[in-house]
């Protein structure tokens, strides 16, 4: 076997220090297979070496949390013996290189994370960030990513019910594709990945192994350079058909009691699944690679251990259950092979063609993996109140905002996703949170993904808080009680102290918000080194959150429902225009402070709104987010097809706000706000209850007609709709590429 040279070590993404540490742990030089195993296990992607020390600060516990971070997905109790299993994961770099397959395999990967826990996936979400719309690659990337997500999810028969999309030049060379899967399991039948006990068969299930994406795991941790196009690694091709069979077969096997442990083969396939299972079970594993189902001839041990072929699982069975399991996988026409056994040792031993090709202590791959406290450079958040033109005509600004890339309707996207399969989607894309009914019950799960990268850039701490607060707000706005969240931390190069600060501060912000809002983090994923030519992306810690509705009949949605309703605004308006979409789209500047997030106010306002919905007193609600009040009101009007006459009382701009002016009032992005549309006879009771609970709440208009009327400006619904619905199809209609397949 070839000698390990410093170049070879560097090519494996290991530093000299790290390599020295390997020598020390082994007491000898590794061979090439072993070096490959270390390189993936010690990669940022698998070891979280830059973030682990900080992730510990996230709150992860609550009485309803069944499984926090550390397993394939988080699990929360949702009553009646049911459990929700969910996680979000990124597939950023592969999606930039090959948008269709990159996004598709991202969807496949996160689904496996969820069904490997014993859950049937019931919903998917996707949080996407693309470069500037006018960048030459953007349209092609949007079209490919959306087709890939749909191509995989639609075939799986799992509804894709929500997500978010932003465009910003910082993602020009580094798009983000974060996919979230929510599954449903029985709380007493959750499957974990600890390969406990010796002498148990290790079985391989799913697709055959090919030379797919070798080095994918290390690639996901390496910064892109100019030559990214040349160094194109083999991208993986997804096979949703096989995944669907794998899902059904796994669930069928899980209905027996044959499984001790099971884990999907994700990044670094066979290596990470076997090493992690052994590590968690406190056992050793011996693998015989000759038994691995192979798609290509003459595969080496190195290739098999590092292959990232998709749609594969590794399981440890109770001895004697092999035949029973095999029959199930045969029925579903999938490969099945006993490829190893668990042992009493703590070693991962790999044999190929009769030779031992790797023999490593499991602990060296996991616990002994490097852990860095990377230096960071504290930086105060951006501050200052940006100047803007106070005399801008409201109507014109509104139309421009509604038709801007970040605020326009996303229908073009979600109509390519089957969002109603499984017959439980009670709130479709287009609202605040999607709601999926728990089949044949009254309960519903609400779900959302949120983060505002420009706030995180201005102030990572406030931005981290805001991401969680907005997610919880979107859940509360449909009437769901926030339960738990998953975080997908997308950042630049952590070896740069400025970037490391973004990571540290954002985690602190997330942690604080999760604590105050009672929404623990139960799973997550980090994607670092999102840089092109030294330019990092906007810090993007995406939060995916789920909430519970005890009765889906009592669910609020954004569309106005009745003429004559009174529109109420909950929460304080200060006219905060720093980092607002108004400032960027209308004034052409990205500056100022991120809006501060008052977590206690978020909490009280959230419960106030939620309890009104739960009590059946409010059925129409929308949180106020990007673009501010007037944008949110327009969305309610458009969704319901009814107009509104706005007439807020004087003095609604809160204390400390700059002189009352319409632009700041209508387009400021103050946090913690909701709009409620309420039958007039219920208004007094709601206002006095708000007063009692010290929740700011005022009437600001009346629902009716076919126009939005504000400050003497009248806009027809048709005008608003044209602006809101027009941008995406027009932009994509100019597509130079037909869909990929």
């Amino acid at each position: 076997m070839s000698a390990i040279t410093p170049e070879l070590v560097a090519e494996h993404g290991l530093s000299t220090d790290e390599y020295d540490r390997i020598l020390e742990l082994l007491g000898r030089a590794p061979n090439l297979v072993e070096l490959g195993i270390f390189s993936v296990m010690w990669s940022e992607h698998c070891s979280y070496k830059s973030t682990r020390v900080h992730l510990r600060r996230l709150p992860t516990k609550a009485p309803w949390v069944i499984q926090g971070p550390g397993e394939n997905a988080g699990v929360v109790d949702i009553g009646d013996g049911d459990a929700a299993v969910f996680k979000m994961e990124s597939h950023n770099h592969p999606s930039f290189i090959e948008p269709y397959q990159g996004a598709a395999t991202g969807v496949g990967g996160i689904m496996r994370d969820v069904f490997t826990m014993g859950a049937r996936p019931i919903a998917m979400l996707n949080a996407l960030r693309f470069g500037a719309p006018q960048h030459p690659k953007t349209r092609h990337l949007v079209s490919g990513v959306v087709a890939g997500i749909g191509g995989y999810g639609n075939c799986m028969g799992v509804p894709t019910v929500g997500g978010e999309v932003n465009f910003h030049p910082s993602y020009n060379g580094n798009i983000l594709v974060n996919a979230m899967c929510v599954g449903l399991a029985r709380a007493d039948n959750i499957f974990l990945s600890a390969a406990k006990g010796a002498g148990n068969p290790v079985v391989y299930i799913g697709s055959k192994t090919g030379r797919d994406g070798i080095h994918g795991a290390t690639m996901a941790s390496a910064e892109f350079g100019e030559d990214a196009q040349e160094k194109r690694p083999t991208v993986q091709v997804g096979d949703p058909f096989t995944e669907k069979l794998l899902l059904e077969a796994c669930l069928e096997l899980m209905a027996t009691d044959a499984i001790i442990a099971i884990q999907d083969m994700g990044a670094a396939g066979l290596t990470s699944s076997s090493a992690e299972m052994a590590d968690k079970g406190g056992s050793g594993i011996e693998l015989d690679l000759d038994k691995v189902p192979q798609r290509e001839a003459e595969m080496t041990a190195y290739e098999m251990m590092l292959s990232e072929s998709q749609e594969r699982m590794l399981a440890v069975l109770k001895p004697g259950r092999e035949k029973q399991a095999e029959a199930i996988f045969k029925k579903w026409e999938l490969d099945f092979a006993v490829i190893g056994i668990t042992t009493l040792t703590d070693r991962l031993v790999v044999r190929h063609k009769g030779q031992v090709v790797a023999d490593l202590p499991v602990g060296a791959l996991s616990n002994a993996a490097p852990l860095y406290e990377r230096p960071f450079e504290r930086r105060p958040g951006l501050s200052g109140v940006p100047a803007y033109d106070r005399s801008r005509p409201l109507g014109e600004c509104l139309l421009r905002l509604l038709g801007s890339p970040d605020l326009c309707a996303r229908r073009w996207i979600w109509e390519q996703y089957d969002h109603t399969v499984m017959n439980d989607t009670v709130q479709r894309p287009g609202g605040d949170a999607a709601v999926v009914r728990i089949h044949a019950s009254q309960k519903g799960l609400a779900m959302t993904t949120d983060v505002t990268p420009r706030y995180c850039f201005a102030d990572p701490f406030e931005g981290g808080k805001q991401a969680v607060a907005e997610a919880c707000r979107n859940l509360s706005a449909v009437g769901a009680r926030p339960l738990a969240a998953t975080d997908n931390l997308n950042f630049g190069n952590p070896q740069k102290p400025q970037i490391m600060w973004q990571i540290v501060a954002a985690i602190d912000g997330i942690a604080e918000a999760c604590r105050v809002l009672d929404c623990p983090i139960v799973s997550g994923n980090c994607s670092l080194y999102n840089e092109t030519n030294g330019e990092g992306i906007l810090p993007t810690p995406t939060i995916g959150a789920i909430g519970l509705l005890s009765d889906v009949q009592r669910m609020a949605s954004v569309g106005f429902k009745r003429e004559g309703d009174v529109l109420l605004l909950v929460g304080q308006t200060m006219g905060h225009l720093g980092q607002s979409v108004f400032l960027r789209e209308i004034e052409g500047r990205e500056e100022g402070a991120a809006p501060p997030v008052d977590l206690l106010a978020e909490r009280t306002h959230g419960s106030f709104v939620r309890e009104l919905i739960e009590a059946g007193r409010v059925d129409t609600c929308h949180d106020v987010g990007d673009g501010g009040l007037l944008v949110a009101v327009s969305e309610m009007a458009l969704a319901g097809g009814i107009g509104v006459m706005l007439a807020p009382a004087e003095g609604l701009l809160g204390p400390g706000a700059a002189a009352a002016d319409a632009v700041a009032f209508w387009f400021g992005e103050d946090q913690g706000r909701y709009l409620l549309s309420v039958p007039s006879e219920r208004v007094d009771a709601i206002l006095s209850e708000a007063k009692r609970r010290q929740v700011p709440c005022w009437p600001i208009g009346q629902v009716g007609g076919e126009q939005l009327v504000v400050d003497g400006t009248k806009l027809s619904l048709a005008q608003l709709r044209g602006a809101h619905e027009g941008w995406f199809p027009a932009y994509m209609g100019a597509s130079e590429l037909p869909p990929v397949n």
């Binding site: 639609n154 969002h419 399969v421 017959n423 089949h439 044949a440």
Partner: protein
């Protein structure tokens, strides 16, 4: 699946339904639960490798989904499944067969229905509510609708562009075999003559792209699909 009581006020029907499950069918459960809710009876799930239908089945449903991944052509591989000769024999005996979405594609691939479903004219998967016109109420599937009635069903497909030669189209229309059409302005896939669903010569086989099983529950956005299943229950029950 948790049992659910049938909708009160319905007669107790006795129609027995079977849903065929192909590899990567994915609306099988949706069809079964819609049927169960309306009939109060258990629907039989039939695995594609079986050679026979359960005894006494009145209605066979070929559900939506991506049988065999939609690889090669939609419905092509499912058309050759072990169970299909039995489904064909059932239809030949006059038994009712309902193919929804992928099921419609399977029916054209087996030539139990004429024509083909090509890729959507817009080349994209489409999922949204669609307005349809019931063009034919004289069938076991549509008798509880009135001809000309507008209904709203969702579509969710990438290949629903109904295509056939002019002679076939004329014949379908002449024989009153176009059961559903996309309402003017709602043809979402480029189908010829706005065809959304067609009947077989003996009128006991219906294939349609939109999903009636997704509109049997007001919480899911409508109940326009119920009448289709109720028509069957009334005829076959």
């Amino acid at each position: 699946m948790r049992a659910k009581a049938p909708i009160p006020g319905l007669m107790v029907p006795s129609m027995r339904a079977a849903v065929i499950v192909f590899p990567a069918s994915n609306c099988d459960r949706d069809a079964a639960s819609a049927l169960e809710e309306l009939t109060g009876q258990k629907t039989q799930m039939v695995w594609h490798q079986q050679n026979e239908l359960p005894a006494g089945v009145d209605l066979v449903v070929l559900p939506g989904g991506f049988s065999y991944g939609d690889y090669l052509r939609t419905g092509a591989m499912a058309a050759h499944s072990n169970i299909m000769p039995a489904v064909r024999a059932h239809a030949d005996r006059g038994g009712a067969v309902l193919g929804i979405c992928n099921g419609f594609q399977v029916l054209t691939e087996t030539h139990m229905l004429p024509g083909v479903l090509m890729r959507n004219a817009g080349l994209k998967f489409v999922c949204h509510m669609t307005e349809l016109v019931v063009s034919e109420s004289q069938s076991a599937f549509t008798r509880k609708y009135t001809a000309g009635q507008h209904v709203t069903f969702p579509v969710a497909h990438g290949e629903g562009n109904y295509t056939a030669d002019e002679a076939t189209l004329d014949r379908l229309e002449g024989e009153g075999r176009v059961a559903f059409r996309y309402a003017p302005g709602h043809n979402c896939n480029g189908s010829m003559r706005d065809i959304a669903g067609i009947l077989s010569e003996k009128r006991n086989v219906l294939g349609l792209m939109p999903h009636p099983e997704r509109v049997c529950d007001p919480l899911l956005g409508g109940t326009d699909g119920r009448a289709l299943f109720q028509s069957l229950i009334e005829t076959l029950g």
